[in-house]
Symmetry: C2
Subunit: 419 residues, 2 copies
């Protein structure tokens, strides 16, 4: 079977790859390691250690508190860079702050509190856990009904399922643009239009989309979004998240965590909370500057690549996984558990196998880092900025080797703790 | 007047200072700069740049996602270190996460939601803005009455004012152990006892106390606390905050931001939110590992010093400020705007002057960094780990020189933006 797609074809794809040189912009400490988990934690950009060290020594060590007038703009400044290079949003619509979960809470609460007497909240039943949990808590506190939209673990949410659930009672819909397991990609423009028809607000979780597919928040008519920066954006472990609020909505929404960074004239420190007139009202407390700093060198690489070229390569890397999995793995009980058409998929691909947990561990021992997602999925995320076609070929080849000898049977199962 | 306390006496205090050698454990880039703003942003520990660089290159660059099983414990592990070295709390009672403002929101909401039909919330009218704003939002959302306790800008809250306001209708009291302007130190044991008598819960903000005075959460019977790590703890700009929940309360309180890090069996990613049985239920989203990392070398220095020695030196540094301000500055219209007794003061001292903003700027130009706090205070925070007695002497001497020639009159006023 291996002859169906010989390795030299992957090498030829690399030779023709316009992004190939960008691999050198990342730290590749172990060239034998095949890293297909950039959708969980992106690699370290080569410029980041020196950038961070300079910030620590000069900004903190020498500048001390005198650096704050610069630092205090970083959440907005980096938000504007994200808006321009990855999100298709306007200046002043994106800010980096807090975690994705906290941002989900703030924006969902703001939307629900502005939704009048609408009583229904919709979320994809298979959405990432924190999305479901945050909404569950907000809905319960307000006596609202949380409806879980039935969704296919392989194919994602069907638009007709969503349309059937949308009516004048729906306050808020929370959806992921790219599903965290299957990689299923939603048509954001179609979803936004359908929700608008019934007056519902859509809150997008872009965690698995940002930096891998062009997100056009303005062009698709998006109102609210959040997302994380440590996956395809390569911001570092637990890097702060972003939030987006369409400019026209900012003054009409209020979030409930009334911290001093959200107040008009913050440093007046006056009595009573008066929300800032703009996006600042969605801020809360003092941001970590060391956590924000790595986003600059990371965005430099993305800006140089261009999100459209990233997407083009991501499609082809995904197609290569699907092609090789069909040829080499399906006979061994694997199934491609993602949409088969590249147009309906983000930049990662899921494989189903009942022994996915053990397989992911055996694969790691064989030098391929993907990740396991409950209950029975192996997720492969070939981040386009630094993953070669030949890496995908080699990873699937090693997986085929494991499959042929059932090389995971001696590997322990048991609890998994990977973010 | 200068002869009242000649400079060589300050040098002698330094020669006898058991913590004097610890100054070398910090980066002192400019030995002419006198930094009295460690209560706003602590200095950079000398071990931090290499510690962080190693984390970035090895933990992130080489380890990649495989480092998460270690990282995911850091919030709790560092929380336990804080508990042991600075907070007088037990293991499993302190965790580092989010910002102080977000932690205030979580713990205050949890306390209010458990307070039955009590309808009153108390906060020091002069408390740090974010404390007042967060409570204002929570109280309004629940239809509760927020009462501002009258408090003296110089002397802090009087216990009899608090006692007069405490009754069976009080759900929650939010107080700072050390006031952010005056440095007034509250008697935590007395406050906790008074609140307990009427069944009210106290939430402590320890931001200006932690790392400067011994906080004995267990011994004083404290229930809830939050605080920041970038002041006397030297964790870096915007370093993540901590929260404390007394062990016996943990399973009885629920906070409203239901993120995945707060769920029992987080990586099961199951349906429905089920809060972790312990302190983990107060977590929300993925923590920034780069923001957490500097707390380890910072706590190493604090542990070596010992909080009691830090406190002893902090008292004397404060006394020196008061002595010199009385002798040199009072004739020029300054007033010590902090409790005069060291027992009633944390490690910073405030000076009142109508031109405080301009004075703080002129003083910075003269090589002394303190900070301005609205409306008319100059705050001097001589962090004991790295501030010499002679630094305080020199700072007050330069301030005296400014006062003699009214050297701030050519300096512009206008908005201030310092965290």
């Amino acid at each position: 079977m291996r002859d169906d797609f010989p390795r030299h074809l992957a090498k030829e794809l690399d030779a023709a790859d316009p992004l190939a040189d960008l691999r050198d912009r990342f730290v590749i400490a172990d060239d034998d390691l095949i890293y297909l988990d950039g959708n969980s934690l992106g690699r370290l950009p080569a410029a980041t250690p020196a950038h961070l060290d300079r910030l620590v020594r000069e900004g903190w060590g020498d500048g001390l508190v005198r650096s704050w007038p610069t630092w205090i703009e970083w959440g907005r400044r980096i938000g504007d860079r994200l808006a321009a290079h990855a999100l298709g949003a306007r200046p002043g619509e994106v800010v980096v702050s807090d975690s994705t979960s906290v941002n989900l809470y703030k924006l969902a609460a703001a939307a629900l509190d502005a939704a009048g007497d609408r009583r229904t909240v919709l979320v994809d039943a298979e959405d990432f856990p924190t999305d479901r949990y945050v909404l569950e808590g907000l809905a319960a506190a307000r006596g609202l009904t949380l409806r879980l939209l039935p969704s296919d673990l392989d194919e994602g949410l069907r638009l007709d399922e969503l349309r059937a659930a949308l009516d004048g009672d729906v306050a808020l819909v929370l959806l992921s643009a790219v599903a965290y397991r299957s990689g299923a990609l939603l048509d954001m423009a179609a979803v936004n239009a359908a929700a608008r028809q019934v007056g519902a607000t859509v809150l997008w979780d872009l965690s698995h989309a940002v930096g891998s597919v062009p997100v056009e928040l303005a062009a698709t008519g998006a109102d609210l979004a959040v997302g994380c920066t440590y996956k395809y954006l390569n911001g570092g472990p637990g890097a702060p998240a972003f939030l987006y609020v369409r400019r026209e909505l900012q003054s009409r929404l209020r979030q409930p965590i009334q911290g001093w960074f959200g107040r008009r004239d913050q440093f007046g420190m006056g009595p009573g909370y008066d929300p800032a007139p703009d996006l600042d009202r969605f801020l809360v407390g003092t941001p970590s500057i060391l956590a924000l700093a790595p986003l600059d060198p990371a965005l430099d690489v993305l800006a140089e690549a261009g999100i459209d070229r990233v997407r083009a390569k991501g499609r082809r890397l995904g197609e290569l996984i699907v092609t090789l999995a069909d040829a080499w793995l399906t006979p061994h009980g694997f199934r491609v558990a993602s949409p088969r058409e590249a147009d309906r998929r983000g930049s990662h691909v899921c494989l189903h196998h009942p022994e996915a947990l053990r397989i992911s561990r055996a694969l790691a021992e064989a030098g391929v880092v993907g990740d396991y997602r409950a209950p029975d999925r192996l997720r492969l995320g070939p981040a386009p900025l630094y993953t070669r076609y030949v890496d995908v070929w080699d990873a699937l080849d090693r997986l085929r080797g494991l499959a042929e000898r059932r090389g995971w049977e001696r590997v322990p199962g048991g609890p998994s703790r990977v973010t």
